[in-house]
């Protein structure tokens, strides 16, 4: 019934706009803050398009920098959904099942930010279509970047399909179609592993860069991804509990924190294994690791970042592994911030820049992002958070049963998402 569908959809759209336009002072201040960052980023990006990537600190020696670092980090954040899916669906752990949808919404925003970071990094964004067959030519399967384009887009569509299906059905007052959702959700597990592995292989496959050409890279990507995604999610969960009627059990939050502790342990262990190999064997390939942790001669720009990342990650591990600090809300949130910051540094600056310093012919060019790069990056983060905020603004009332198609009694009691 197309007519019915149109009526339902326009009701959904109108209702969503109404929800988005309704909010307290804090909500509008938040939106204004994001809007300002987006505007500043857009202006900086416009200038970059006009004058070229020369406005960044990237040069031939360090040809990737802050943008690609953020891209890499955000691929990790996109794992958030899967960290929730595994306990919720494989172990049928109900307290987490109710929040899987928020993990998926976060994944959608994160992948959007990833794609935007790639777009601002390329020299000719007007030629983006060269990647898209049949108009363009995708060098598949030879180029790992082609693989990455494919898996990121599939992961995006997967999460988008599941999230919209569940929410739309709930709006309609009906349960989601189990036969559709469960296989897709299960598929998202190998896909999440896939986006991390492929993104790691992007760097891993380059023999020219010994810092990346280490087989530990992909496992380490996965380990750190299973920390950074949930770190954001835990904070979002607490905010939702506080500002809406949405109920999330304490044990769900603490369980996720426990899983993060294991992931962080693995991450630290893999870093340690890599550092051992490099320092003990002490070949010429040590240069890059040395640049990150100790500096080369007077070139020490990144050293404080390296050790802050180590300290933050160790702190997060300690706070999440001890049940007492996991249950204390203050230490839990400190742990989340430490994880987020630690992984952000090690996977952003810490992966890309030492990989390219010294350059292929041994020259040391010390890269440090310019204000223009910071503004563009902040704008992209703000746009991602804006999308995430607006999606939550619609999704939360739907799952609470507050936002529902009025003419459709549906077959569910309220709240619509609970108890499936």
């Amino acid at each position: 019934m197309p007519r019915e569908t149109i009526r339902l959809f326009s009701g959904f759209a109108r209702g969503s706009v109404k929800l988005i336009l309704k909010g307290n002072r804090a909500y509008w201040l938040w939106l204004a803050f994001l809007g300002a960052l987006i505007l500043s980023g857009a202006l900086a990006y416009a200038n970059q398009v006009r004058t070229g990537l020369v406005v960044t600190a990237m040069r031939d020696q360090v040809s990737w920098g802050f943008y690609i670092g953020n891209f890499t980090f955000l691929v990790g954040v996109a794992a958030a959904a899967v960290v929730l899916v595994i306990p919720a669906y494989i172990y049928d752990w109900k307290p987490i099942r109710e929040i899987v949808i928020y993990g998926e919404l976060l994944a959608i925003s994160a992948i959007m930010m990833c794609l935007m970071f790639v777009c601002v990094d390329i020299g000719r964004p007007d030629r983006f279509w060269h990647l898209i067959p049949p108009f363009g030519h995708l060098n598949f399967p030879r180029s790992i970047l082609a693989w990455d384009v494919i898996v990121l887009n599939i992961y995006f569509l997967l999460n988008f399909a599941v999230a919209t299906h569940i929410l739309y059905r709930a709006f309609h007052g009906r349960r989601y179609a189990k036969r559709l959702v469960v296989p897709l959700v299960l598929l998202s597990i190998p896909m999440a592993v896939g986006i991390h592995t492929v993104t790691a292989f992007l760097y891993n496959g380059l023999a020219a860069r010994p810092y990346w050409n280490s087989s530990i890279l992909a496992p380490q990507f996965l380990a750190s991804a299973f920390c950074s995604g949930p770190a954001i999610l835990l904070v979002v969960m607490q905010l939702l509990r506080r500002f809406t009627r949405f109920e999330i059990q304490d044990q769900a939050i603490q369980k996720i924190a426990e899983l993060m502790a294991y992931a962080m342990f693995l991450n630290l262990f893999l870093h340690g294994a890599e550092a051992f190999k490099e320092f003990y064997s002490g070949t010429q390939h040590l240069l890059y690791t040395r640049y990150w942790y100790l500096g080369l001669g007077g070139h020490r720009t990144l050293v404080p970042y390296a050790w802050s990342a180590v300290a933050l990650n160790v702190l997060a591990f300690a706070l999440f592994i001890a049940p007492a600090t996991r249950r204390n809300w203050i230490t839990l949130n400190i742990g989340c911030l430490a994880t987020y910051a630690g992984v952000y540094i090690e996977k952003g600056m810490g992966l890309i820049i030492p990989g390219l310093t010294p350059d292929a012919l041994g020259e040391i060019y010390e890269y440090y992002p310019t204000i223009a790069e910071l503004r563009v990056a902040a704008g992209i983060f703000a746009l991602g958070f804006l999308v995430f905020t607006l999606m939550l603004k619609v999704a939360v009332p739907i799952s609470l049963g507050e936002f529902r198609d009025k003419e459709d009694p549906g077959d569910l009691g309220s709240p619509a998402l609970a108890g499936h």
């Binding site: 990537l53 020299g123 060269h130 990647l131 060098n139 020219a208 012919l361």
Partner: protein, 292 residues
Amino acid sequence: METNGKTPKPTRRLFTSTAAAAAAGWILTACGPKRLYEAPRAQLKKAIADLERQYRERYGKNVTVSDSQPIPGVEFAYALDISRCIGCRRCVYACVAENNQSRDPQIQWIRVLSMEKEKGVDFSSADPYYQPAEVPEEGHFYVPVGCQHCREAPCTKVCPTGATWTERDGIVVIDYDWCIGCRYCMAACPYGARHFNWAEPNIPPGELNTNTHYLGNRPRSKGVVEKCTFCIQRARAGRYPACVEVCPVGARKFGNLLDKDSEIRYIIEHKRVLVLKEELNTMPRFFYFYAT
């Protein structure tokens, strides 16, 4: 799949859906206007005429853009005599002038590294910015590095759009009109041979070399990658690259690897020859040798 002892016969539905999927896959990967250089000749000719008109408007000079093809039976290779090179950088500047590299911001396809004799070929202690009053310096030798035109080129492998490839005569080229500027090739190149136009390239019209090739020295735009092409506009016309011509000590040799009587073959067969970063298995067509 049921195990009833018989080989399951493909149903019509299975067959049609598989065929449809295969067709869709073929269309997605094989069709459509691709890299211009692979387009029909007529389309390439028209594009070249457009380019020549654009360059004329921009520089106020007649610029010819050649699309000369590889010569059958020719595979180019290069050899550089490390024991002769004196580090004068004349090759660098001849290359800039011949190949229309941007003067500001400065792009140079050849980087000459000053190395210490005590350490040998060691990149980590090499100095590309040496500025003594006179070269060669005591205790130093020089290793000029540009594109090595690898047989197993890591850069062409990683390009997501197929904008860079190896021609049949062994020259690794870039289609500047197809490159999206992702710089994955720059990360993949072990020789720092690829350079990016971080800003709009700038060539004084008076210094423009008007004899250009589509895959070589025609003026580039900002946001794309460029590199040495063995002076494709010269090599395919039977001339030496500019760096070979200008070298005051005759350290640079160039020729056809498939010609048994060529100088390049003589060098490879009779001299002590090495390639840079041999362990990466890139198999360069650019050889270094010690003649004395």
